[in-house]
Every structure is written in C-alpha cells, then in structure tokens.
C-alpha cells in the first residue's frame, strides 16, 4: 500500500471512530438543503421561473451542491490549521512527505465517508421524491470533468487559506472572511447567475464560482464547458499552485514551531 493509500485508510478509520458524533454530524448535512428547498418553494409559489431557473432546477442545484461541496468548497482545513497552531506540524516537517499531498489525502479520507453518506441520502431522495430532481445523464461527463477541475482548484485554494495561518497570530478573522465571502461567490448560497449586478460582476473576476456554481450549472445545462472556461480553470489552478508554493516557503520562515 502506498503512503497516500495508507493515509486515506487511516483517515477513514479515524472518521469512523466516533459513531455518535458521525451519525449526528451527518444527520444535519441535509438541513441547509431542506431550508433552501422550503425557501425556494415559497419564492416559486408566486413565480413560475426565476431568471431562467425552474423550481426543479433549483432543487436539483442545491442537491448537487450538497453532493460536491465537501470536495470543492475551499473552507479552512482545520487539520492544517490545528497542525500549525498546536505545533503538531513540527513532527510532520521532519518526515519525507510533501505536506500538501499529506493534507490532501488526509482530507480525501473524510471526503470519501461524506460521499458515501450523501450517496445514501441521494438514493433515498431520488426514490421518494424523484419528480423533484432533474436527471440529465447526458450532462454527466461534462459535469464530472468540471467537478474534477473544481476539486483540484478547491483543494489548492483551501490549502492557501489554511497555510496563510502561518503568518497570523489568530486565524479567527481569516475564518470569518472565508466563511462570509466564499459561500456568496462560490454558489453555495444561491446560483451565482442569480447574484445582483455588482456582486455578479465581482464574481466573474474571482475563481470561486468555478468551484461550486459552474459544475452544477453544467449539470443543469445552464453553462457549457467551453475552451474559455477550461482555460480559466487552468489559469487559476496554475496561479494557486504557485501561490501555495510561495506562501508555504515564506510561511515556514515565519513559523514559530510552538511548544516543546
């Protein structure tokens, strides 16, 4: 077994250790989805469509978001943050392992558990309420390619936010910034196409919409994976890869390696 396969195995084993914690935390996964469905059903009560989205589109949108957000959403990675703040990073730095890939595969383990649970929800939901989901199998290859690129970009941006903690005494401000800005411009809160004028314009200059909104809109057929978007993905992936390398190198020079 390779070191990364072993890392994924350990991560899954650790995630499955605390059964009650796991059941409760996954039990609440669907709550934002349910709230969004209730809200949008209210909105659609008075309208047949909102900016080219039907109710079915919207419900499907939030369901796919639920499905992919754990992989592509660039939240602070608390494994990395705690490694840095607690000084646990010390014992990883002395190992011949690339920390980006270490953190990536560590996270992949919990991603896999999340994926399995959401898959379970998806099957149940599709069986019970399938009339509310838009099934577009022909869009799946484009969606998967976009999802893969979003996943890579999402991990790179998440790594950037997380290792930025190397420069900070306290990460709460960064955490608030990430938690406030990212949901708006990534499409977690609502499809980016529905953002009002100025916010929509800002979103077009940011890489965040590529992470959640784009893959889902491709599944819905609202966007096409044209060469311009692929260039855009590659531009941001290369840029954040370079930024990560730079921030990591400079950050380690500032690293205090707290604790004995």
């Amino acid at each position: 077994m390779s070191k990364y396969a072993r890392l994924v195995y350990n991560s899954i084993a650790e995630t499955l250790t605390y059964r009650t914690n796991l059941v409760v935390s996954f039990g609440v996964i669907a709550i934002p989805f349910i709230i969004a469905v209730i809200f949008w059903r209210g909105v659609f009560f008075a309208n047949n469509s909102v900016a080219n989205y039907s109710l079915k589109d919207i419900i499907t949108y939030y369901f796919i978001v639920l499905f992919i957000q754990d992989f592509t959403y660039p939240a602070l990675n608390y494994d990395i943050v705690m490694d840095i703040k607690s000084g646990r990073l010390n014992l990883l730095l002395i190992k011949p392992v690339n920390y980006f890939w270490y953190a990536f595969f560590l996270r992949l383990g919990s991603n896999i558990v999340y994926f399995s649970v959401v898959m379970f929800f998806l099957i149940i939901y599709a069986l019970v309420f399938n009339q509310f989901l838009l099934l577009t199998p022909d869009k799946i290859p484009v969606f998967l390619l976009s999802f893969l690129l979003s996943y890579i970009l999402g991990r790179l941006i998440s790594f950037f936010f997380s290792i930025f903690v190397l420069f900070l005494e306290n990460y709460m401000g960064l955490e608030s910034f990430v938690n406030f800005i990212v949901p708006i411009f990534s499409g977690i809160l609502l499809p980016v196409n529905l953002l009002p004028g100025l916010l929509y314009k800002i979103s077009s200059y940011l890489p965040l919409r590529l992470l959640v909104s784009y893959p889902v809109e491709m599944y819905l057929g609202k966007e096409n994976l044209n060469i311009g978007i692929i260039y855009s993905y590659f531009f941001w992936i290369v840029l954040f890869a370079l930024i990560d390398i730079f921030v990591w190198r400079e950050g380690l020079k500032k690293y205090r390696a707290v604790g004995g």
Binding site: R6, A13, T17, Y18, L91, L92, I94, L252
Partner: protein, 318 residues
Amino acid sequence: MDVVITVEHLQKVYKRQQRKSGLHSVIKDFFRRKYTEIKALKDINFTVREGEIVGYIGPNGAGKTTTLKILSGILYPSGGFVNVLGFTPWKRKGDFLKRITLIMGQKNQLWWDLPAMDSFLLFKEIYEVPDDIFKKQISTLLDMLDAGKLVNYPVRYLSMGERMKMEIVGALIHDPDIIFLDEPTIGLDVLSQTAIREFLSTYNKEFQKTVILTSHYMKDIEELSNRVIFIMNGEIIYDGAIDKLISKTLSYEYVEVTFDTSKGFVKKSYKVNKEEIPNFLRKLLSDNSSIVEIKHKKPDLEEVARIIMASNGIKKDE
C-alpha cells in the same frame, strides 16, 4: 569517529510584540505595533561525533528546543552554519529526513484514535521501509520496550508511559542515524522514566546511534551521556564532561557519616570543601568512636545545574 553535526555561530532571533496595559496603549497598539527582538540563540558552536550521546541542558527558555528544531529542519535559523550528516537541515531533503528523527515528550505523532500499529504502517510507507526490515525493526523495538501488547489498542487508551513507548517505536521505525530527543521523560512516573532511560541506553550501546538529548531531569542526562552542553540565555556556557562540570562549578563534596548512638544508627551529611576532606576525616575519626560507616559523595548534576541556573552562569562556588 566522524563528526556528524557541526554548528557554527548559530543564531535565532524572534520578534515579540510589546504592549503596555491600558486603553491608550491598546488603541495605539492597534495602529502601530511595537516589537522587540528576542535572541533565542546568540552564537552557538559545537560539533557532535558519530555515536555520541550529548546532554543538552539549561533552564526554560534557554534555547534548547530551538536548537533541536533547527538541527532537525523544522526552523530556519537567523544566521550561522549548520551541517547535519552533510545536509543543511532546513532544506529538508528526503535523504536527510530519512536519517534523522525527533522525539518530543510533549507532542504526539501517533494517530490518537487509531491503534499505534496503524501509525507505524503509515510511517513505514512514508520512510519507504521494506516489509522484512519493518517487521524486524518493530519486533526489536517492541521487545526492548516490552510493549508488544500495546500496539493494537487505540493510542488514546494508553497511559502516558505506554504512549511514550509507542512514540519511540514510531520515531525509530526507519532506523535513523541521529536521534533528537526533546524531554522524552517529561510527565512520566519514575518507573516509566527508568524504562525509557534503560531503553535509550541499550539502544545506543547496541546500535551506536548519535543522540542529542534535552531534559529537565538531570538523572536522564547523567545516566545516558558523558558529555553535556549547558546553554543559558541562548549561549553555551559549558561543553564537556559531566564530572568536569561538577568539579569546575562546586568546590565542596559530601561526607555521609553513620553514628551508632543510644537511639540507634543516626546518619549525618557534611558539606566539606574538597581540599579539606582529609583533615575533616582525621578530626572526625579522632573525635568520635561511635562511627559505623563513612561515605564520600560527590554532588550530582542536578545540584550543579540548580546552582548554575540560580547564579545565572558558572561561578566557582566557595
């Protein structure tokens, strides 16, 4: 034996925020921060030969752990030259990292919720240890530490002493040439301390590994090393044999005398200037007929360290 660690003019400077109390200072500080430079290491120079066990001691904040962190590649220095096994540590080349290890008494590298064996198997892959060598190394280490039964319990269920044994196994799986030990017995009970100490002593004798050890328990240092480097305020104030440090620092030794009295055997300890010990004994024997036993005892490293720390440096005791 070859020199495996060379440290020349090593310096490490930290910036520390400075702030007075009071609302005015809080507001002023918000707009303009003031920092002071803390020189954690000022001008550190030493070499270590292959197979040596060196005790690296000093008070809290002296710079011991900072030195180990630089030698193991965790921290960048602010200046100076360091060479460990032919490598610059903070470049963290894979070939370098495979030949060193760092054991920190206050940090865990094992996965808390998993059996230690799961962590060992991960380290095996990280260090690319072949299956047969891994099995042999694990079995040797577990036998030496008498810890074979512990590998299948989640780490969080182990006692501190058991956990430290597992940490040591995990840190030595790749058979490193240099072992940096940062307070490996901190917080352990006497039995566990002894077990760890005995293991380290046997391991060094059997495999001739180079060890740099920091500890606040001077017994660790006395039992494991012959050479000690004493660091205070970021500077080395002594580098040499423990015996010489004791004789250099203290001019007295102890004479312990047991008297046979009407109340039974009574022990008394006298602190006597080294040069006056013959005269003291002569006088003692001529004045007392009830002496049963006389023992001559040198001060230990703990006493010496306490005096050096209290007087902020080595001064010949009078």
